[in-house]
């Protein structure tokens, strides 16, 4: 089996995987990082979104061997070193951006990618950017509010 090397959340790791192993499975099963969730395994739900070389991708739809040599960021790397939540995570907690939490890792990673390229998105831009992330319990308003708040904008929340 091939051995792949990646930098995951700033740490160099290697894993022995099959060619058919998708990145989500390599993270969860080989590296024990179960924060990345596999919801649908058909590229639709977005629970498995991680960043590969700075780009948000669905880790169930990229082979681990394709991420050989890549810089990967996952939900485990989002909190600060002392364990305190980062701005986006805190905003999700403050604004009811999650209920069961299953979709949350993907939501947070997608939101982080959005704010990286567009620090002050409109509500419409946020909703458009979340097209590939499905939440089936809390609804989207809390998630949108959280991302607005994380970007330092409170208009949507104030309007409630």
């Amino acid at each position: 089996m091939p051995t792949i090397s990646m930098n995951v959340n700033g740490t160099s790791v290697s894993a022995e995987v099959e060619n058919r192993t998708v990145l989500a499975a390599a993270l969860r099963e080989n590296l024990g990082m179960t924060g990345t969730h596999i919801g649908c395994d058909t590229s639709q739900c977005g629970a498995c979104v991680v960043h590969v070389n700075g780009k948000a991708v669905k880790s169930c739809t990229i082979f681990a061997v394709e991420a050989d040599g890549a810089e990967v960021s996952t939900i485990e790397g989002q909190a600060d070193a002392d364990g305190s939540l980062n701005v986006i995570q805190q905003a999700f907690q403050d604004h009811h951006g999650l209920q069961c939490g299953f979709c949350t890792p993907g939501m947070i990673m997608t939101a982080a990618a959005l704010l990286e390229e567009n620090p002050k998105p409109t509500e419409a831009e946020i909703r458009d950017h979340l097209e590939g992330n499905i939440c089936r319990c809390t609804g989207y308003q809390g998630i949108v509010n959280a991302i607005m708040a994380a970007s330092g904008q409170n208009s949507a929340i104030a309007a409630e």
Partner: protein
């Protein structure tokens, strides 16, 4: 999915050589191929990754032609073609979702030629040229039916050259679950005339709607095609829409594209 051998060549020549093996299949961004393999609808014995092949990524403009490397992602096309070819940029920005656009490639889309994919409409309406490791193929000769193209088994889409039209627009009526085009229409107005390409509608894959082109060549306005709709004869009927519904949408979306073209 079944396991496979994996190879990651760095040159087009080596990739073509690897693809000449029995059971070999090219892997672009994998946004169609991986789901297909999970369902065991595709069972390649060897995957030839094109990710590291040099010289296949980027968007460059020379005169009135925009050339896009076959390995360029939809996200990069959306960004890098925005100033030079806004109609194409907007199309790329509407494919799938942001994460899919960060992986999926224009070459992969054109090689697969899904009957509901967006890029085939842009390529056919623009009169693009598909460049492979072996030859240049005009879009008019390239698309040969549902999932069928002029490519042979060791051909790789290395680049696509789009003549930039004077005006263009793409209108997609999304299938609400898959976000593919239930029907999509790309209208391009060039110095040589108007071209209208329809995706998602026909059992034969992407096609040019020549009746609308003729009418629009006389008068480039929605009024010129006011009462027209597509020919339902060979259109797709499925859970999401009948052939007649799609034929109706072809007319509606073409009118919208003409109005919105810039």
């Amino acid at each position: 999915m079944y396991n496979f051998e994996f190879t990651k060549p760095t040159t087009v020549e080596d990739a073509a050589k690897a693809m000449s093996a029995e059971g070999a299949q090219a892997l672009g961004g994998g946004q169609t191929l991986l789901p297909t393999m999970k369902q065991r609808l595709a069972m390649p014995e060897i995957l030839v990754s094109l990710t590291d092949v040099e010289g296949m990524v980027g968007v460059s403009k020379a005169g009135t032609t925009l050339t896009i490397g076959g390995g360029t992602t939809h996200a990069q096309v959306a960004t890098d073609a925005a100033a030079s070819y806004p109609g194409l940029s907007a199309l790329a920005d509407g494919i799938g979702d942001p994460a899919v656009r960060n992986r999926g490639t224009i070459g992969g889309s054109l090689a697969n030629n899904d009957p509901a994919a967006c890029y085939p409409a842009a390529a056919l309406a623009s009169g693009a040229t598909i460049t492979t490791n072996k030859r240049d193929i005009l879009a008019d000769n390239y698309f040969q039916g549902m999932f069928e193209t002029a490519l042979d088994e060791t051909e790789i889409v290395t680049a696509v050259s789009f003549p930039i039209p004077e005006k263009s627009n793409y209108q997609k009526f999304v299938q609400p679950a898959s976000r593919f085009a239930l029907v999509g229409v790309f209208v391009a107005k060039t110095a040589d005339g108007v071209r209208v390409a329809v995706t998602g509608a026909s059992n034969g894959g992407v096609y040019r709607w020549t009746e609308a082109e003729t009418a629009l060549n006389g008068d480039f306005s929605a009024r010129a095609i006011e009462d027209m709709s597509g020919d339902a004869t060979d259109m797709i009927t499925d859970l999401h829409g009948s052939a007649e519904y799609r034929a109706h949408l072809v007319g509606v979306l073409t009118r919208r594209a003409v109005v919105a073209s810039s």
